[in-house]
C-alpha cells in the first residue's frame, strides 16, 4: 500500500465508525471492557472491522481504546496488556486484507494528570509509551490518540507515543464541547499550536456534540494549521429511550455534512459514538475520489498557554515578553524564592499581564535554591492566575525540563546558544516537550559583526534540524549590546535583525533593557533602539511592560512595519493613553497636567469635615493624621469622638438605611473610626474611666466556627461606646452564661451561620428563661430569620451589621424604661 502520508496528499480517506455500538449489538454487556473481547470474542471484533471495511473504510481503528495498563487494571486485566493490544492489531489486519490502514487506537488513561491531577506527567507518559510500543511492535500503520479532553494529557500521550513508537505517524484527536473549547479550556487555535510543536501528522476532533456543532471547530483548525485534519463526529449527543441509548443523527443526516467537512479542510472523515457501517458507507460514497483542500502553511512561531496562543513573526503583532519575574537585584523576590514561596511571582505575573505583556519570562534562579523544583512551582502558580503564555528561562537544563514538563501549553525556552554543550542539552528538551526556543547568537564569545552572528545562527539551525526541529521552532536573539560600551556592536545588532528577516524570514527578539545601560534617560535610549529594531524587522522584545513609553513606541513603530493594518490597533490603544509628550493635535490632550483641578477652586474642607468624610468613605489610611491634626488644632479628644466621629458613623448608618451605602461601606467606615479612636484612646483614658453605654457578651454558638459577621458587629458596637466581651466562636453555653453573669451584661448576643448550629440559640434562650437570668438575647447570622427569632423567644433579631447598633439601643432603651406592668 502507498504510505499513508503520501496518500493524504491526494486523497480524502475514510475512517471507520463506532466499535462500541456494534459490540453492544453483539451482546457486550453495559460496563464491560470492549478491549477484553479481543481475546474472548475475537470473531466478533474481526467481523465488525470487516463490516466497516466493506462499507468503505480506508483506515480501521484497533479495538484498543481502553487497553492501557491503567484502564485494564480497572478490570484486573493489566497483566494481559500485550495479548490484548497485539490481538487488537491482528484482528483489524485480518479484516483489512491489505486494503486498509491499521490505526492503533489509544484513549485517555482514565484519570487526571498533573498539574490538575494526581498522576504525574512521567507516569502518564509511561502508560502511553507502553501501549504505543505494543501497537507498533504488532505492526500498525499509524497510531490514533482519541477523545482527549485535556491538552496536558494529550502532551503526555504524544511524548509516550513518540518514544514508544518512533517513526510511526500519529493522528491526535481532541474532544471539544458545544462552546468550541475542550474541557480544560483550550480552543482550536491553541490546540493546533501545541500539537504542531509535537509535529503530529494528523490533527483531529472526535466524539463531542455531533456533526453540526463540530463544523466551526474544524473550520478554525483548518485556518490555524496546515497539518492534515481528521474528524469523527458523534451521531449527536446520546439519549435514553425505553431503557436504551440512542443517537439523534441518522446516517443520511450525518452524510450531508461530509462535503462541508472537506471544505473546512478535513483529510480523513469517520464516525464516533452512535455511528455504524451504514453511516460510513454513505460518507464514503459521497467523498470517494474527491481531492483534499490544500491549505497554506503559517510561517509564524507560535507559543501557547493552555488557553491562549501568541504568534511571533512578520505581520503578527509585536510581542512584548515581560521581564519582571526575575530575582536578579530584587532582595524580597529572591528571599521569597529561597523560601519556596510563589506569592510575589504570582503578583508580578498578574501585574505584567494587566500591563499588556503578551508573554512572561519566568526566571527563578537564586543561588543554592533547587531551581528545578522552584521552576515547577512557579509555572503552576502563574498558570493558575493568568493565561499569558510563558517563556521558561534558566541556565540549568534541569530547571528548563521541570518547567516544560508541567506546562500545559507550548512554551518558549530562554535560551540556547551556539555552544555545542548547550545545544546538546537544550535542543532535545525542545523536541521532547514540543516547545520553541530563543537562540542567542553568541558562542564562546559575543561576535561584534553581524556576519559572525549569522554564522552562529547557521550553526544553531543545523543542530536544530539534527534534533528534528524546524526553523519555525526557533526565535533568534540578536544580542542587544550596551551602546555606551560597544557602539558599533550595538549597531550590528540592527544589521543582524535586518539580514535574518530579509534573507531568512527568521523570527527575532532582543533583551531590551541592556542596550541603554550606563546612559542617562535610559528609557528614551532603549525605546528609540526598539523603534529602529522594529523597523529592521524585529518581532519581539524581552522588556519592562510597565513602561508606558515602550507601549506607545511599539504601537507607533508597528504602523510602519506591517503589523497594524489600517492603524486600528494604534487608534484603539491611543484612546486609553495619556500622552507622554505635549500633543498639538485636536483632542490630543494639548497640555500636560499640572496637578491643578477644578476641585482646587472649591472651598477647602475643615479638619472636622475631613474626619467625617474619611469615616463615611472608609478612608482608613488618612484617619490617623486627621485626628492628630484635629487634636493639634485644639479640639478635645472627647469632642472629636462624640461630636465628629459618632455623627459621621451615624450618617453612614443612615446612608446604609437609604441604600446609598452598603455593608462593605459600613465595615470600612467602622474600621476607619476604630483606627481614629485608637489615637484618642490614651487621651480619653487619661481623663478617667468613662461609663460604657452598656455591656454585651457576644459569641458564635457551640459547633459553629464562622465569626466574621460577629466580629464586624462587635466593631460597630465598640465604635458606639458599648463594652463588648467577645467570647469568639464555637462557645459552650455555660461559658456564655458564666461570662454574662460575671461581667454584669445586659445583652447576650449570639451568632450562627449554619442551619445545623442555629438551634443552639434556642438552647441558650431556654436556659436563660429557665434560670430566670436578667439578660436580653439578640440573635443574627446568615441563616437566622425573624420568624426563627420569634419562635425561640429571642428579644431581638438583627438582619445584618447595619442593624446591630439600632437593635442594641432599642433593647437597652426598653430595659431602662419603666415597666408597663
Amino acid at each position: 500500500m502507498t504510505p499513508l502520508l503520501e496518500r493524504l496528499k491526494k486523497d480524502i480517506l475514510i475512517l471507520d465508525g463506532s466499535m462500541g455500538a456494534l459490540l453492544q449489538g453483539r451482546g457486550l454487556p453495559p460496563g464491560y471492557a470492549p478491549d477484553l473481547w479481543n481475546l474472548e470474542r475475537p470473531k466478533d471484533i474481526q467481523a465488525v472491522h470487516a463490516e466497516y471495511r466493506a462499507a468503505g473504510s480506508d483506515i480501521l481503528l484497533t479495538n484498543t481504546f481502553g487497553a492501557s495498563r491503567r484502564r485494564l487494571a480497572e478490570y484486573q486485566a493489566e497483566g494481559r496488556i500485550r495479548e490484548i493490544n497485539v490481538a487488537g492489531v491482528e484482528l483489524a489486519r485480518r479484516a483489512a486484507g491489505g486494503k486498509a490502514y491499521i490505526a492503533g487506537d489509544i484513549g485517555p488513561f482514565g484519570s487526571t494528570i498533573a498539574p490538575f491531577g494526581d498522576t504525574t506527567f512521567e507516569e502518564a507518559v509511561a502508560i502511553f509509551r507502553e501501549q504505543a510500543a505494543l501497537l507498533a511492535e504488532a505492526g500498525v500503520d499509524l497510531i490514533a490518540i482519541e477523545t482527549m479532553f485535556d491538552i496536558q494529557e494529550m502532551r503526555a500521550a504524544l511524548i509516550g507515543v513518540r518514544e514508544g513508537a518512533p517513526g510511526v505517524p500519529v493522528m491526535a484527536f481532541m474532544t471539544y464541547n458545544a462552546d468550541g473549547i475542550t474541557d480544560s479550556g483550550s480552543d482550536p487555535e491553541t490546540v493546533a499550536a501545541v500539537l504542531e510543536g509535537f509535529c503530529v501528522d494528523i490533527m483531529g476532533l472526535n466524539c463531542s456534540v455531533g456533526p453540526e456543532a463540530m463544523v466551526p471547530v474544524l473550520e478554525r483548525l483548518g485556518r490555524a494549521t496546515h497539518t492534515y485534519l481528521a474528524i469523527e463526529p458523534n451521531a449527536g449527543l446520546p439519549l435514553h429511550r425505553d431503557g436504551k441509548t440512542v443517537y439523534p443523527s441518522g446516517a443520511e443526516e450525518m452524510a450531508t455534512f461530509a462535503p462541508t467537512f472537506v471544505e473546512a479542510g478535513a483529510n480523513i472523515i469517520g464516525g464516533c459514538c452512535g455511528t455504524t457501517p451504514e453511516y460510513i458507507r454513505l460518507i464514503s460514497k459521497m467523498l470517494k475520489g474527491r481531492p483534499p483542500r490544500v491549505r497554506t502553511p503559517s510561517l509564524h512561531t507560535k507559543i501557547a498557554s493552555r488557553t491562549r496562543v501568541i504568534p511571533i513573526g512578520a505581520g503578527a503583532p509585536f510581542v512584548l515578553i515581560g521581564e519582571k519575574i526575575n530575582p536578579t537585584g530584587k532582595k524580597l523576590f529572591s528571599e521569597a524564592i529561597a523560601e519556596g514561596r510563589t506569592d510575589l511571582i504570582v503578583a508580578e505575573a498578574r501585574k505584567e499581564a494587566a500591563a499588556g505583556a503578551h508573554a512572561l519570562d519566568v526566571n527563578v534562579g537564586v543561588p543554592l535554591v533547587d531551581e528545578a523544583m522552584m521552576m515547577e512551582k512557579a509555572v503552576i502558580a502563574i498558570g493558575n492566575v493568568v493565561s499569558t503564555p510563558l517563556v521558561i528561562d534558566s541556565s540549568f537544563a534541569s530547571a528548563l525540563e521541570s518547567g516544560l514538563r508541567i506546562y500545559p501549553g507550548r512554551a518558549l525556552v530562554n535560551s540556547v546558544n551556539a555552544e555545542d554543550e548547550r545545544l546538546e542539552e537544550v535542543l532535545p528538551l525542545i523536541r521532547r516537550y514540543g516547545a520553541s526556543v530563543i537562540a542567542l547568537l553568541s558562542g564562546d564569545d559575543i561576535p561584534e559583526k553581524a556576519i559572525d552572528r549569522i554564522k552562529n545562527a547557521e550553526k544553531i539551525l543545523k543542530a536544530a534540524e539534527r534534533f528534528g526541529l524546524s526553523p519555525r521552532d526557533i526565535v533568534f536573539d540578536t544580542l542587544a549590546l550596551t551602546v555606551s560600551a560597544a557602539q558599533e556592536a550595538a549597531r550590528q545588532t540592527l544589521e543582524t535583525i535586518r539580514i535574518l528577516k530579509s534573507e531568512w524570514n527568521a523570527h527575532t527578539v532582543v533583551g531590551l533593557s541592556n542596550v541603554s545601560f550606563g546612559l542617562p534617560m535610559r528609557k528614551t535610549v532603549h525605546d528609540t533602539f526598539l523603534a529602529m529594531a522594529i523597523g529592521a524587522g524585529l518581532d519581539g522584545a524581552i522588556c519592562d511592560p510597565y513602561d508606558p513609553l515602550l507601549h506607545q513606541t511599539v504601537a507607533a513603530a508597528s504602523l510602519f512595519s506591517g503589523r497594524d493594518p489600517e492603524c486600528r490597533i494604534f487608534i484603539n490603544k491611543a484612546e486609553t493613553w495619556t500622552p507622554l509628550v505635549p500633543q498639538a493635535d485636536k483632542g490630543g490632550g494639548a497640555s500636560l497636567s499640572t496637578g491643578a483641578s477644578a476641585s482646587n477652586t472649591d472651598k477647602p474642607l475643615t479638619t472636622r469635615e475631613k474626619i467625617d468624610r474619611a469615616i463615611v468613605e472608609g478612608e482608613r489610611e488618612s484617619i490617623t493624621a486627621l485626628v492628630e491634626t484635629a487634636l493639634a488644632e485644639g479640639m478635645g479628644p472627647f469632642d472629636i469622638f462624640v461630636d465628629v466621629m459618632t455623627p459621621a458613623i451615624r450618617r453612614l448608618g443612615d446612608l446604609f438605611g437609604a441604600r446609598q451605602k452598603f455593608i462593605p461601606h459600613l465595615i470600612a467606615g467602622a474600621d476607619t473610626m476604630k483606627k481614629g479612636v485608637e489615637v484618642l484612646q490614651p487621651l480619653l483614658e487619661a481623663k478617667g474611666p468613662t461609663e460604657p453605654k452598656g455591656t454585651i457578651v457576644f459569641a458564635t454558638v457551640k459547633g459553629d466556627i464562622h465569626d466574621i459577621g460577629k466580629n464586624i458587629c462587635i466593631l460597630m458596637l465598640r465604635n458606639f461606646g458599648y463594652r463588648v466581651i467577645d467570647l469568639g466562636r464555637n462557645v459552650p453555653l455555660e461559658t456564655i452564661l458564666e461570662t454574662a453573669e460575671k461581667e454584669k451584661a445586659q445583652i447576650v448576643a449570639l451568632s450562627a451561620l449554619m442551619t445545623t448550629t442555629m438551634i443552639q440559640m434556642k438552647v441558650a434562650v431556654d436556659a436563660i428563661r429557665e434560670k430566670n437570668l436578667p439578660f436580653k438575647v439578640m440573635v443574627g447570622g446568615a441563616v437566622v430569620t425573624p420568624k426563627f427569632s420569634l419562635e425561640i423567644g429571642a428579644d431581638g433579631y438583627g438582619k445584618d451589621v447595619g442593624e446591630v447598633v439600632p437593635l442594641t439601643e432599642k433593647i437597652l432603651a426598653a430595659l431602662k424604661a419603666p415597666s408597663a406592668s
Partner: protein, 229 residues
C-alpha cells in the same frame, strides 16, 4: 462512548481561576455594580482591590468528585453500590429517584485566606471582611468549576444533571459529611471535618449532583440554588 469515571475519586489540583470584580461586589451585596471603578469611591476601590490581589496570591483551588452507581430507592433513602447509608431523607429521594448515578463533589480554596482572615479579624476587621468575602465566593467558584467539568461528562454520557444539593441542607443530615469525605478521600485535598461535621478549611464546599435521564425528574435551574460553603 466516553467512559464514565466510576469507582474512584477524580482529583483536581491547581484549578485555574479568575476573581471577577462583579462577583465580589455581588458577594458584598453592593447592587448594580460590575467593576470596582463603578463605585466611584477610591478608598473602597483600593481596599476591595487589595483583597482581590491577596486572593490571587493565597488561593489554592482543589477539588475531587466521585461518581456512585444508584442501585435502588428505599423508603427513606437512596441506595448506591458503594453505600446504603449516605443518601438519606425524602429530599434526597426526590433528587435522585430518576438517576442512574450520583456524583459527590468537594472543593476548597485551601487554608491561607482563612488563616489571614482570622489574623486580621482583630486589627483590621474591614480588610478581614473583604478578604473573607473574596474567599467565600472563590470557594463557591471552585465548586462551580468542578460542577461544570462534571456536567460535560454527564451530557456526553447522555444524561442530564440535577441541581447541586449541599450536605446539611433539607433533611440530608450534616453528619453525612463524614461519609462524603471518606468516599471522596477529601483529606487528599486538605479537607477535614471538625466535631460538628463542619469542613476545615471553612472555605470549602461539598454536594451531590445526580445523573438523570433527560426529561425525567426535577429540571435543574440555569444557576444552582442549593449549595453550601
Amino acid at each position: 462512548m466516553p467512559a464514565i469515571r466510576l469507582g474512584h475519586p477524580v482529583f483536581f489540583h491547581n484549578i485555574p481561576f479568575e476573581i471577577e470584580e462583579r462577583q465580589i461586589l455581588r458577594e458584598m451585596r453592593i447592587p448594580k455594580k460590575s467593576r470596582l471603578e463603578d463605585l466611584g469611591e477610591p478608598a473602597m476601590e483600593k481596599a476591595i482591590g487589595q483583597a482581590i490581589e491577596e486572593g490571587y496570591r493565597m488561593i489554592e483551588g482543589q477539588g475531587v468528585y466521585r461518581t456512585l452507581t444508584v442501585t435502588g430507592i428505599g423508603e427513606d433513602r437512596v441506595l448506591t453500590r458503594e453505600s446504603s447509608t449516605l443518601f438519606v431523607g425524602q429530599k434526597m429521594i426526590k433528587l435522585l429517584k430518576h438517576c442512574d448515578y450520583a456524583t459527590l463533589i468537594a472543593a476548597t480554596i485551601g487554608p491561607r485566606i482563612e488563616t489571614e482572615v482570622d489574623r486580621l479579624s482583630g486589627p483590621e476587621p474591614a480588610h478581614a471582611y473583604f478578604l473573607e468575602r473574596v474567599g467565600a465566593w472563590m470557594a463557591d467558584y471552585m465548586g462551580i468549576w468542578l460542577d461544570n467539568m462534571l456536567e460535560r461528562e454527564i451530557v456526553r454520557a447522555g444524561y442530564q444533571r440535577t441541581y447541586r444539593f449541599g450536605v446539611g441542607y433539607g433533611d440530608w443530615p450534616l453528619s453525612s459529611q463524614t461519609e462524603v469525605m471518606a468516599l471522596t478521600e477529601a483529606h487528599k485535598i486538605g479537607i477535614a471535618l471538625n466535631e460538628a461535621h463542619i469542613m476545615i478549611p471553612r472555605l470549602s464546599v461539598s454536594a451531590v449532583i445526580g445523573w438523570q435521564k433527560p426529561g425525567t425528574g426535577i429540571q435543574p435551574p440555569t444557576t444552582d440554588t442549593e449549595s453550601d460553603a
